[in-house]
Amino acid sequence: MASPDAEYARSIRLLFRLVLAALIPGFFWFLFLALSGPTGTGLEEAWSQGESPFWTGGQTPLVWIIALPPLIPTLSSIYLALSFFRARRRMMALLALSQGGILLGAMAILLL
């Protein structure tokens, strides 16, 4: 059985690759939207005022792609808690679960 450290590393590496694979085409999709549609109009002004037009107006649900990177430590923490639990290190499992809980709590701010 692999150590929790190795399992944590493996989960981060795998999820990071998947997220990168989604972000790269996602970038070109956002670029296409900005160049071809109303999203690009006044983008300089919106950026100067701290607004991202991709979040407002419901142009694309794909904007949620950008929420994938912080999802990696969230999911990995829960996986880490399971690894520690399997290794019978209950205190560490609890700490890892707390870490995942804080990340899920922060994520809930976005969803609420």
Partner: protein, 260 residues
């Protein structure tokens, strides 16, 4: 100038992030601590978007490094988790307080923070010799309670300003917890992984993360860091470090002057 203008901003952001990535690796500092003040003062982007992107820059760096340091036994999850928990609680508070703050206040405080970062980067890390030749496996952190409180404060600053805070984590882990320098740097990466992700959710909820700005910056920083790592054996680090300190001083003074 390329039309539309935002496209030229995006290209500038990509190349600026790349240059920051090169310099950050050569100087041995985190990318976000350079990214936020420099991009915040050089490009006409709102400071909230820059801070939101700074967190993603820090997160991407930590995501790339964490599996390597864990596999290389330079860091242990078990030692990092208690500190990461404290830092992530601090970072969520910092992000909640910091997001949507008055931009002038943020710029002024960022300038003040940078004036504190400069001596830490210049002197503290230079004097941090490995006190004990122990591996991550053997290292037992000293003064855990005090360190956890300090990590809470560092996490707060990281969340507030959108920086990874490796500049504070590493000296703290070495000086207070007795970690060897390389183990401290690797453990700091694991802490940043969690606290930058926590604060990112808050910035995302506030709509302070633009996908175009963020992906262009993270991509530029990633390419720059890789190029910087190749240049590392050939470039005198002392010179680069001085350049970075001068850049930080420039960004600090400009942030303060802009805010006043």
């Amino acid at each position: 100038m390329i039309e539309p203008v935002w496209l030229s901003w995006l290209l500038l952001l990509f190349f600026a992030s790349g240059a920051i990535g090169v310099v950050a690796v050569l100087a041995g500092v985190g990318g976000a601590v350079l990214f936020v003040p420099l991009v915040g003062t050089l490009l006409p982007l709102h400071i909230d978007l820059v801070r939101g992107t700074g967190l993603f820059v820090a997160l991407a760096g930590a995501l790339a490094a964490a599996p390597v340091t864990l596999d290389g036994s330079l860091s242990k999850v078990a030692t990092a988790i208690p500190f990461a928990l404290a830092a992530s609680l601090g970072s969520i508070l910092g992000a909640l307080v910091g997001v949507n703050q008055d931009p002038s206040t943020v710029r002024f405080l960022l300038g003040v923070l940078l004036l504190a970062v400069i001596p830490i980067t210049a002197f503290a890390t230079r004097n941090l010799a490995d006190r004990a030749q122990v591996s991550a496996e053997q290292w037992v952190p000293a003064h855990r309670g005090v360190a956890a409180i300090l990590f809470l404060c560092i996490g707060f600053l990281g969340g507030f300003f959108g920086v990874g805070a490796g500049w504070a984590n590493v000296p703290l882990l070495v000086a207070l917890c007795g970690a060897p320098l390389r183990v401290a740097a690797a453990t700091s990466g694991l802490i940043i992984l969690v606290n930058s992700a926590t604060a990112s959710w808050v910035y995302l909820a506030a709509g302070a993360v633009d996908p175009l700005i963020t992906i262009a910056s993270v991509a530029g920083m990633t390419f720059g860091s890789r190029f910087g790592a190749r240049l590392l054996p050939r470039v005198p680090q002392g010179v680069i470090r001085t350049v970075v300190l001068l850049l930080l001083l420039f960004a600090a003074l400009r942030s303060i002057l802009e805010a006043l």
